[in-house]
C-alpha cells in the first residue's frame, strides 16, 4: 500500500481547477473501536484518499471491511466513538471541529434500510423534517420542498403516507429528504441493497442525475458495485482496513457469486405434488386480485425458484402455501402442513432470544431435538465460539443463516424461503446458496421466492415466472435463462 494519497481520476468537465479543495479527504486515517483489550482491532489502517468535488465514488468491500466506519467518520453526527488518528476533511474542514449545524448542511447521509431511516408518517412531513431542524422559514422550506420534488419527479407522492409506498419509493423519499437540505457531499451506505433490481436502477439513475446536474459529490459504500459502475468516476476498495484505488473495469467483470460447490442435481424425482390449484387470492374484499388462477406443481426433492417483478405476488404464493394467507377460490395442497418451515424476508421475525444457543434451543421440545444437534448446528454455522452472543450482534448474513438453521432443526420436508439473500453481501449469499445446495443433496424440497438471479442460477433446478397473478410453465433453470431476454447475460 502506498502512503501517497490516492487521487481518483475525476470527470474533467466537472472539475474547476486542480487546486480545488477536495470534497472529502482522508489523511493517514487509522481507526479502532474501543475494546477491553489492547486498543482493539483496527478497522482502518493508515487510509488515505481524496475525493474531488463533483465525483461519483464507489467504496467497495465486504461486510465488516470498514466501509461504514469510513463514511461515518465524515459525518460528525453519526461518527463512531473510538480511537481516531490522522485527519478526516470535508471541503477542507476538519470534521471533528465542524459544528453540528454546519455538518448537517454540508454533508448528507442516506442509510441502508428504507424502513428505519424514515422518521415521520407522511411523505411531506418526512421531507420537511430536516428543513424544520435547520429552522428555515416557510418561504424557503416551500421552495426547497417544491424543487426537490420536481427534480426527483415525486410530486405525486407528496401527500401520501410513507407506509403506502414500496420499498424503492421509500428509499427515494429518504434520498429526497436529504437532498432537500442541499448538502454538497452525499454519503450513502448500501442504499440499494434492500431494493429489487428495477427499483435499484431507478434509485441509481436519480442519484446519478443529482451528481451530474447539481454537481453533488457522491460517495456510495457498497458490496455490490456492478449496477453502479457505469455511473462512477472512480472506486476504492477496502479490505481488512486497507484502502486502495481499484479500476472500474475490474469491478465490472467481478462474478456475483463465487460458488465452490456446484448445483446439486435433483434426487430422483418422485411424484409431483399439486400445491396450488387454480388459486385466487386478494387481501381485501373488493381489492385487486394478487393471485388469479395460480397453479403450482412441485416435485419432491426439487429446489424451485419463483421469480417475478416487485409486488408481483411472490411472497403471497409462499404465504398461501404456508397456510398464512387463505385462498378466496381454488385448492391449496396440504401435503406438507405441519412439516414445513417458513423463512421470512426479515430473519429478525424469528430471533427473540438472548443468545445464539438459546435461539437454536427454543423449539427443541416441539422439534424433538437436543443439545447435541444444536452443537452440530453451531459448528455448521461457524459460530461455536459465539454461542453466548446476542443474535443481533451477528452480521446480517449470519443472522439469516442462524434463522435458517433454527428452522432446519425442526427437520421440515418443505422449506419456504422468501427473499433469502435480501441485503446480504456476496460472501453471505454464497453461504446461503451452499446451504440450500446441501439441503438439496439431502433430498429436501425447497421453494424460494427471489429476485436474485445469480442465486437462482446457483441453486434452483427449475424456475417459475410469476406475472399477472399466474405462474407460467416451469422450465429447467438453464432453459429458462437461455430463453430469457432480460436475464440471459
Amino acid at each position: 500500500m502506498s502512503l501517497v494519497p490516492t487521487v481518483c481520476d475525476p470527470n474533467p468537465s466537472l472539475l474547476p481547477d486542480e487546486n480545488h479543495v477536495p470534497a472529502f479527504e482522508l489523511r493517514e486515517v487509522s481507526f479502532a473501536y474501543p475494546s477491553d483489550g489492547d486498543g482493539g482491532a483496527h478497522v482502518l489502517k493508515g487510509a488515505s484518499m481524496k475525493v474531488p468535488e463533483g465525483a461519483f465514488v464507489l467504496l467497495v468491500g465486504g461486510t465488516g471491511s470498514g466501509k461504514t466506519t469510513c463514511l461515518r467518520l465524515a459525518k460528525r453526527e453519526v461518527a463512531p466513538a473510538g480511537n481516531l488518528k490522522g485527519s478526516v476533511l470535508v471541503f477542507g474542514h476538519e470534521v471533528r471541529t465542524l459544528g453540528e449545524l454546519a455538518s448537517s448542511q454540508l454533508v448528507g447521509y442516506v442509510f441502508q434500510s428504507p424502513d428505519n431511516q424514515i422518521v415521520c408518517d407522511t411523505v411531506w412531513h418526512e421531507l420537511a423534517f430536516g428543513l424544520e431542524n435547520l429552522g428555515l422559514d416557510q418561504q424557503e422550506t416551500h421552495r426547497r420542498l417544491a424543487e426537490v420534488c420536481l427534480f426527483l419527479g415525486i410530486e405525486g407522492l407528496f401527500r401520501k403516507r410513507c407506509d403506502e409506498l414500496s420499498g424503492g419509493q421509500r428509499q427515494v423519499v429518504a434520498l429526497a429528504a436529504v437532498l432537500a437540505m442541499r448538502p454538497r457531499l452525499l454519503l450513502l451506505d448500501e442504499p440499494t441493497s434492500m431494493l429489487d433490481p428495477v427499483a435499484e436502477k431507478e434509485f441509481l439513475s436519480l442519484l446519478f442525475r443529482a451528481n451530474r446536474e447539481l454537481g453533488l459529490t457522491v460517495v456510495v459504500a457498497t458490496h455490490e458495485p456492478q449496477p453502479m459502475v457505469d455511473y462512477a468516476t472512480c472506486a476504492f476498495g477496502l479490505e481488512e482496513g486497507v484502502l486502495a484505488e481499484v479500476s472500474l473495469s475490474a469491478l465490472r467483470t467481478r462474478p456475483a457469486l463465487d460458488l465452490s460447490m456446484a448445483r446439486v442435481a435433483p434426487m430422483t424425482q418422485h411424484a409431483r405434488e399439486r400445491l396450488l390449484d387454480d388459486v385466487w387470492v386478494r387481501y381485501e374484499r373488493s381489492g385487486p386480485w394478487v393471485l388469479r388462477g395460480c397453479d403450482l406443481l412441485l416435485g419432491t426433492g426439487e429446489v424451485r425458484a419463483i421469480v417475478g417483478g416487485n409486488g408481483s405476488g411472490k411472497s403471497t404464493v409462499i404465504s398461501t402455501i404456508a397456510g398464512v394467507v387463505k385462498a378466496s377460490r381454488g385448492k391449496v395442497g396440504r401435503r406438507y402442513r405441519g412439516r414445513q418451515a417458513l423463512l421470512p424476508q426479515q430473519p429478525k421475525a424469528l430471533l427473540g432470544c438472548e443468545t445464539v444457543r438459546e435461539e437454536l434451543m427454543e423449539w427443541s421440545a416441539a422439534g424433538g431435538y437436543g443439545e447435541s444437534e444444536v452443537v452440530a448446528a453451531l459448528e455448521r454455522l461457524g459460530l461455536t465460539g459465539c454461542s453466548e452472543r446476542h443474535p443481533y450482534d451477528l452480521s446480517g448474513g449470519q443472522q439469516q443463516l442462524l434463522a435458517l438453521e433454527k428452522l432446519l432443526l425442526m427437520a421440515p420436508e418443505l422449506l419456504l424461503l422468501d427473499e433469502p439473500t435480501k441485503g446480504l453481501d456476496g460472501a453471505s449469499r454464497t453461504l446461503v446458496a451452499e446451504r440450500v445446495n446441501e439441503l438439496a443433496s439431502q433430498g429436501r424440497t425447497v421453494l424460494v421466492a427471489t429476485h436474485d438471479m445469480a442465486f437462482v442460477k446457483a441453486v434452483a433446478h427449475g424456475v417459475s415466472l410469476l406475472f399477472d397473478g399466474r405462474l407460467g410453465e416451469t422450465e429447467e433453470t438453464e432453459t429458462f435463462f437461455e430463453h430469457s431476454w432480460m436475464w440471459r447475460a
Binding site: F111, D121, L145, V178, V324, P344, G352
Partner: protein, 284 residues
C-alpha cells in the same frame, strides 16, 4: 353521495366547528335542542355518505336509542304520569321521555363525532398542534407510523412460528413475540435516531414547523362568525334548558327565536355542501 370537503379552509375552522357543535350537542338535554342537533347530524350523514350508509348506521344506533329509553325508567322511577307497572317497576311517561332524549342525544353526539372525523384528518390536527408543540407533534407523527409497523411485525413473528412449529397460545407465546418485537424495535431505533441526527435533529437551532396551510383573511372571518354563532347558540340553548324540566311533569316551551342560531349552526355544514353543489363549481 357528496364528499365532505372543507380542505379549502384552514384546519382551525373545521376543528373549531367540530369542537363547538359536539360540546353543544352534549349539553343540550332537552327535546328541542336534541332534535336540532340530531337533525343537523343526520342531514350531514345523508349528504356525505348516502342513504344506504346512513341506514346501515341507524340500524345499530336506533336500537341503542331504544335501549336507553327503556332502561331509564328502571333506574329512575320519577315523574307523575304513571304509564304502567312492570313487576316492581313503575314506568312513568316523564322517565321514559327522559330516556328517549338521552338516547337521541347520545346518537347525535356519535353522528357529530363521525362527521368531525370525516372532515378533520390527522394531518389537520398535526398542523394545529405543530405550532404550539413541535416535539409532541413529531412524536405523534412517529407513533402513527410505528404502531401499525409493530402490529404488522407481531403478526409476522406469530405466523412464522405458526407455520413451522404449529399454532401456540398463551402467556409464553405472547412473551416470546414481545421479546422479538422489543429486540427488533430497539435495533431499528438506533438507525432511526442516527437518521434524525444526520438531518440536523438537536443541532441546537430552534425548530420551525412547516405549515402547509396558510391562515387567510377569510379563515379569520369564518372563525369570528363561528364564535359569534356559538355564543348566540350557547345562550339560546342554556335559556331553553333553564326553561325546561322533565320532572315531576314535563314543562316548558322552546322559543324558536332563541334556538334559531343553534338551528343555523347545526345546518351549517350541510348548507355549505349544498351551496358548493348548487354553485356548480368550487368557490374560491
Amino acid at each position: 353521495m357528496w364528499r365532505a370537503s372543507f380542505d379549502k379552509w384552514h384546519p382551525m375552522v373545521p376543528v373549531a366547528y367540530s369542537a363547538g357543535i359536539i360540546a353543544l350537542a352534549m349539553f343540550g338535554i332537552c327535546p328541542s335542542c336534541v332534535g336540532v342537533s340530531l337533525a343537523g347530524g343526520l342531514l350531514f350523514l345523508l349528504l356525505t355518505q348516502g342513504v344506504r350508509a346512513a341506514l346501515a348506521k341507524l340500524r345499530w344506533q336506533l336500537p341503542l336509542l331504544l335501549l336507553i329509553c327503556l332502561i331509564n325508567p328502571l333506574y329512575s322511577a320519577m315523574g307523575s304520569t304513571l304509564l304502567c307497572k312492570v313487576g316492581p317497576f313503575r314506568v312513568y311517561t316523564e322517565s321514559l321521555a327522559y330516556g328517549a332524549v338521552m338516547g337521541a342525544l347520545l346518537v347525535s353526539v356519535l353522528l357529530w363525532f363521525e362527521a368531525a372525523a370525516s372532515v378533520v384528518g390527522q394531518d389537520e390536527v398535526m398542523e394545529l398542534g405543530g405550532t404550539l408543540l413541535p416535539s409532541v407533534t413529531l412524536a405523534v407523527s412517529m407513533v402513527m407510523r410505528l404502531v401499525p409497523q409493530l402490529v404488522r411485525r407481531a403478526r409476522d413473528a406469530r405466523t412464522v412460528a405458526e407455520v413451522t412449529v404449529g399454532r401456540r397460545h398463551g402467556m409464553n407465546e405472547a412473551l416470546r413475540i414481545l421479546g422479538v418485537l422489543l429486540a427488533w424495535s430497539l435495533e431499528d431505533s438506533v438507525e432511526r435516531s442516527d437518521s434524525m441526527r444526520a438531518r440536523g435533529w438537536g443541532a441546537g437551532v430552534r425548530r420551525h414547523v412547516y405549515r402547509s396551510h396558510l391562515v387567510r383573511r377569510r379563515d379569520v372571518q369564518a372563525l369570528l362568525l363561528l364564535i359569534l354563532l356559538f355564543a348566540l347558540s350557547a345562550f339560546g340553548v342554556s335559556r331553553t334548558l333553564l326553561g325546561w324540566r322533565f320532572y315531576p311533569r314535563m314543562q316548558g316551551t322552546a322559543s324558536p327565536a332563541l334556538l334559531a342560531p343553534y338551528v343555523l349552526l347545526a345546518l351549517l355544514p350541510s348548507l355549505a355542501l349544498l351551496a358548493d353543489r348548487l354553485g356548480g363549481k368550487e368557490r374560491p
